[in-house]
């Protein structure tokens, strides 16, 4: 449930669902997101669900804070129980060509490479949100002993397809971009495809993702 609604500037609503990060709060956020998106309220131009917040931005020429707040307060998000989620397997190659931060992770986590991969692969992760860069999924939760901080100095260029970790989350860099997450491997899958306008994202909030290891040869010969 929404605990509090305030304004973010003069053209957005800030819906606060709490401070914790967990699947149950995030599912509430996603339910509201899907309900509002389907209803197409005149003037709302963007919805950004995240772990425990939903930002609703609107065109100040068409509506205002009071109207949108009133509308959101009277929505019954329980109506749309179906969050329509998928289960996806993502191939990942953790060859040393790709796992740029494996040494750093071994040091911080005090675990061997084998143990890190064992802890990470073949487990179900929940997609809390997508964004920052187009299509980037924020997946969680990693095991307690797998949680490392961001790099002190972010990389200027993280290669496309990089699978990376920070704190309790994993993500996938959908295209080359700056970034500070710990890189563990790389997927040959196109996780974001701008030519598919109706469904550019392979992974969407609410989906479950399992990483399956592939060899360098399989990576090179990968064919979607």
């Amino acid at each position: 449930m929404i605990k509090n609604i305030s304004n973010l500037g003069d053209a957005a609503l800030y819906c606060d669902f709490g401070d914790e990060v967990n699947k149950s709060i995030n599912s509430q956020v996603i339910k509201y997101f899907k309900t509002i998106k389907e209803k197409k309220f005149e003037g709302i131009n963007n919805l950004t669900p995240s772990y425990n917040k939903l930002i609703i931005s609107y065109d100040l020429k068409k509506t205002n804070f009071k109207e949108v707040k009133n509308y959101v307060e009277n929505i019954n998000a329980e109506e749309s129980i179906d969050i329509n989620s998928k289960k996806l397997e993502i191939p990942v190659c953790c060859h040393e060509n790709f796992s740029m931060d494996i040494k750093r992770l071994e040091e911080i986590l005090k675990l061997s490479r084998e143990k890190i991969l064992e802890n990470f692969l073949n487990k179900e992760y929940f997609c809390y949100m997508t964004g920052f860069i187009a299509g980037m999924p924020f997946l969680g939760d990693l095991d307690e002993n797998m949680r490392a901080q961001r790099l002190e100095t972010p990389r200027v260029k993280v290669p496309k397809g990089s699978v990376a970790l920070t704190e309790q989350f994993a993500n996938i860099y959908t295209f080359e971009s700056p970034g500070g997450w710990n890189i563990l491997g790389n997927t040959p899958l196109d996780v974001f495809d701008s030519s598919k306008e109706d469904k550019p994202n392979l992974i969407n909030p609410g989906d479950t993702v399992i990483f399956k290891e592939i060899t360098l040869d399989q990576y090179k010969n990968y064919n979607e």
Partner: protein, 314 residues
């Protein structure tokens, strides 16, 4: 092949096609984009008898030098821009907010924006561009939009699909006003900052850094001290949000911003001041002034009425 086209002799620093931008995509990580200075974008289109949501060429600092081939067409430049138009045997210095007719072989040389950042070149017609999600706006970070999501390059040819039959010459006397204070609404993490930090935010001057682009404007100045946490759980952003990372220097989110972020939000620029904010070039001094939501809404309404008024007079 279209017989009406532009050739890029010099692309300029950051020259892109922009229109009204694309909405309903934040949840997948795609920002609004669109013309940075919306008012100047609309005026440019009106001056050449285009639909107001037509694509224009946006440039920053140094603009493009282009050569036109084809039948007669109108063009207009808005912003605070120094440019010339070269015809067969003459070269004239151009005025912003005035349309010109150009013909086969003419050149437009956009030398620079003057103490501002963005300018707009509209042609009276329709460029032949690829649309993605109902917009041709180029987002160079995600390579989305027309021109494969890349800025314009030297030697490129840009075709026109259509030339407006209405070739009336238009002119308006608009002057880009500068403002001393950027009005802001308190951010959702305002109380993360020390009393001293809050005072600094509203009372001290900040300088626009060179590390500013269509994604964000970085500011330098006295450090704003955070007393709660320099990170928050990542959440949605909108344009105009002012984030303060651990180093204490504010960053203002602009039209191509990342859709989510994890730095505390000290404030949000009021919509009424956004067009003028983006025109502040590196080295400019910024001071923030707090306003409340209802004043921000009223001021935006007035600004919008003024924009409509300006457009109706053209």
């Amino acid at each position: 092949m279209s017989s009406n086209y532009l050739e890029i002799i010099r692309p300029g620093i950051n020259t892109t096609f922009q229109d009204k931008g694309r909405d309903h995509l934040y949840h997948i990580g795609i920002p609004f984009s669109g013309a940075m200075d919306n008012r100047n974008y609309l005026i440019a289109n009106k001056l050449v008898n285009n639909n107001l949501d037509s694509a224009v060429i946006e440039f920053a600092y140094q603009g493009p030098h282009i050569k036109y081939s084809g039948e007669k067409i109108n063009c207009a430049i808005t912003g605070d821009v120094i440019f010339s138009i070269k015809k067969k045997d003459t070269e004239i210095e151009g005025n912003c907010y005035e349309s010109y007719q150009i013909e086969n072989g003419d050149e437009i040389n956009i030398i620079s924006t003057n103490k501002s950042v963005y300018g707009y070149l509209a042609l009276g017609g329709e460029f032949d561009l690829k649309f993605q999600w109902n917009s041709c706006s180029i987002n160079t970070k995600a390579n989305i939009g027309s021109n494969d999501g890349k800025k314009l390059d030297v030697g490129q040819r840009i075709n026109l699909k259509k030339i407006n039959s209405n070739k009336d010459i238009k002119k308006t006397n608009y002057i880009n006003t500068k403002i001393e204070n950027i009005r802001v609404i308190k951010g959702t993490n305002f109380d993360y900052f020390s009393e001293e930090g809050k005072k600094i935010f509203y009372e001290k001057e900040f300088t626009v850094s060179k590390l500013s682009d269509r994604m964000g404007m970085r500011l330098e100045g006295p450090k704003i001290d955070n007393i709660v946490n320099t990170n928050i759980k990542s959440e949605g952003l909108i344009k105009g949000v002012i984030q303060v990372p651990a180093d204490g220097n504010p960053i203002i989110m602009l039209s191509d911003h990342g859709t989510i972020g994890g730095y505390p939000k000290i404030g949000v620029v009021a919509s009424v001041d956004y067009d003028r904010l983006v025109q502040m070039s590196p080295g400019s001094k910024i001071k923030f002034k707090e306003i409340n939501l209802s004043d921000a809404e009223t001021l935006f309404k007035l600004y919008e009425m003024e924009t409509q008024n300006l457009l109706s007079q053209i």
